[in-house]
């Protein structure tokens, strides 16, 4: 099970804090650094792992892509039932 983005982030910040505290042995510091770099990489890849995708989900759960520009161009109208 992959960790959540929050876990990843807080783990990374924890590691940075511990590394900055100067209380680790050199081995621990290097280990922490490597883990931190790995986490940062994962974070970046998760951030990059996204593309703009807007879909419309219909009642049966089917998804069809929606063009954002089209959607935004629609004239402002009052809500309809």
């Amino acid at each position: 099970m992959t960790q959540s983005f929050e876990e990843l982030m807080s783990r990374l910040e924890d590691i940075v804090g511990r590394l900055e505290s100067n209380q680790l042995s050199l081995e621990q510091a290097i280990e922490a650094y490597q883990e931190g770099v790995t986490l940062a990489k994962q974070g970046h890849s998760r951030l990059a792992d996204a593309e703009r995708r807007i879909e419309e989900v219909t009642r049966g759960g089917e998804r069809t892509p929606v063009d954002a520009e089209e959607l935004l161009k629609k004239p402002r109208s009052e809500d309809e039932p």
């Binding site: 650094y33 951030l47 996204a50 009642r59």
Partner: protein, 475 residues
């Protein structure tokens, strides 16, 4: 008031205790005495802590909207009591209905104690017109029911995910709310993934449609967050969001639900049970969709800090290592020994050198002394003196000898002269020598008188004669 006994000031608890006074009240010293301000502060803290945000129903009266600040001040009253209320400009401006005296309302906000006057005061955050109709009654009943079930509890509310994989939107397909959300989403994160599930939000059956759409979208398990939104409308238009079925659907969602219903402070039932309620669809989108660049920046910052920290760690340790190494080599016994032996050599050399120099100087001195000593040696001096004595003695002997010869010769000559002059020789020639009794030679007749004895030496023998007188002799 003016003649109140202020002679003895009562002090607050933080002030030093008062000296017991001889005045009327004897137990002043052990009674805790509040200052007025202290009591107000204490009351305010207590009130704010125990009540927090509350809803209060009543009628607006004594309304004034301050011309300069725009804040609204009014009194909320019912048959029994009155409550001072203040509503800040920003909240006043967001109201859909203008406030008016006599208006029946439910206000909500924080209750506090206004320090100056000591009066209770409600800082109003929102105002709901209080209908007396069945819809309002139903709203209150449902809110109470859900509250009792714990569904409105803050503990139930989940935090929004930092980076949702996808954000669902449940709203009307043609509403302004959808466009606001999409616009906001794209502005904050161009890579956002949106799943839009359109649903009618008003009219017959809208409550069921909303609930069904919400659950259908949630069942896909794609969205981490679902925005349930609807643009502004009248209180009646928003009724579906006050329905129990929608509330139950919201509570059942796996995704975190953010509501953005209406664009004012009206609270819907959906708002009460959602994880986060926002006043508008735009605000809901802003909370639900993170700014990706900001998050990326946090990673970049964290990476930089990591790198810096490790570098600092390593260089720090390196420096420490070098320091220790330097200390260690300084302490190396072999080196210390080498250094000591070198020192010893040096000292030896110096000692030898100075010894040699001292020795040389002494030798030189000795030579000088020896020479000087030799010069003053007594035997040599004596020998020299002896030689000199002999020379002088020889000289003396020679001189003496010469002298002696000369003297002998002179003596012989003298003796010869003497012999020629000897009176004996004269006597021999017939002369006699007359002398007085005391052996003085008599040269004149006057030297003797008649009767004196005279000695007369002859060439052979001598005679004693007596003077008879003087003869007259012809010259």
């Amino acid at each position: 008031m003016a003649d109140a006994p202020f002679g003895m000031r009562r002090r607050g608890p933080s002030d030093p205790p008062l000296r017991a006074s001889s005045s009327s009240s004897s137990n002043t010293t052990d009674t805790f005495v509040f200052s007025v301000g202290g009591l107000q502060r204490r009351l305010r803290a207590e009130v704010e802590k125990s009540f927090g945000v509350i809803h209060v129903g009543g009628e607006i009266s004594s309304l004034t909207i301050h011309g300069v600040s725009g804040h609204a001040y009014f009194v909320l009253k019912d048959e029994q009591a009155q409550l001072r209320c203040v509503m800040w400009k920003e909240q006043v401006q967001r109201l859909r209905h203008k406030l008016d005296n006599g208006m029946e309302v439910i206000v909500y906000g924080r209750i506090t104690v206004f320090e100056k006057s000591g009066q209770l005061q409600l800082t109003v955050q929102g105002v709901d017109r209080q209908g007396s109709g069945p819809a309002e009654e139903a709203w209150r009943a449902l809110a109470e029911k859900l509250r009792l079930e714990g569904l409105t509890s803050p503990a139930r509310k989940r935090r929004l995910p930092m980076l949702p994989r996808a954000v669902g939107v449940v709203t009307s397909k043609n509403g302004a709310a959808l466009r606001d959300i999409v616009k906001t989403a794209l502005r904050r994160d161009p890579f956002t993934r949106l799943l839009i599930a359109p649903t009618p939000v008003q009219g017959e059956g809208a409550d069921l449609a909303i609930a069904r759409t919400l659950l259908m979208l949630d069942d896909l398990r794609i969205c981490d967050v679902i925005i349930l939104a609807r643009g502004g409308g009248s209180r009646e238009d928003l009724w579906a969001f006050n329905s129990e079925v929608v509330a139950r659907a919201v509570c059942a969602c796996f995704a975190v639900v953010v509501t953005g219903v209406g664009h004012e402070t009206d609270t819907s039932i959906a708002d009460l049970v959602s994880d986060l309620s926002c006043s508008t669809p735009t605000a809901a989108a802003e909370h639900a969709i993170p700014v990706r660049a900001e998050i990326r920046n946090r990673f970049v910052v964290a990476e930089n800090r990591l790198r810096r920290a490790l570098r600092a760690e390593v260089t720090g340790r390196g420096r420490r290592l070098m320091r220790l190494e330097a200390k260690l080599t300084a302490q190396d016994p072999l080196r210390a020994m080498q250094r000591k032996s070198q020192l010893l050599d040096e000292l030896t050399n110096r000692a030898e050198r100075s010894l040699r120099i001292a020795l040389g100087r002494r030798q030189q001195l000795l030579a000088v002394m020896t020479r000087r000593l030799a010069r003053v040696e007594p035997r040599a001096k004596m020998a020299a003196l002896g030689a000199r004595i002999q020379i002088l003695r020889a000289k003396q002997d020679h001189l003496l000898a010469r002298h002696l010869v000369a003297a002998k010769q002179r003596l012989a000559e003298q003796v010869a002269g003497l012999e020629a002059l000897s009176p004996l020789k004269v006597l021999a020639r017939g002369y006699a020598l007359a002398t007085t009794e005391d052996h003085r030679v008599i040269l004149r007749a006057s030297q003797v008188a008649p009767g004196d004895r005279v000695n007369l030496r002859l060439s052979e023998g001598a005679l004693t004669l007596r003077v008879e007188g003087e003869l007259e002799i012809e010259s």
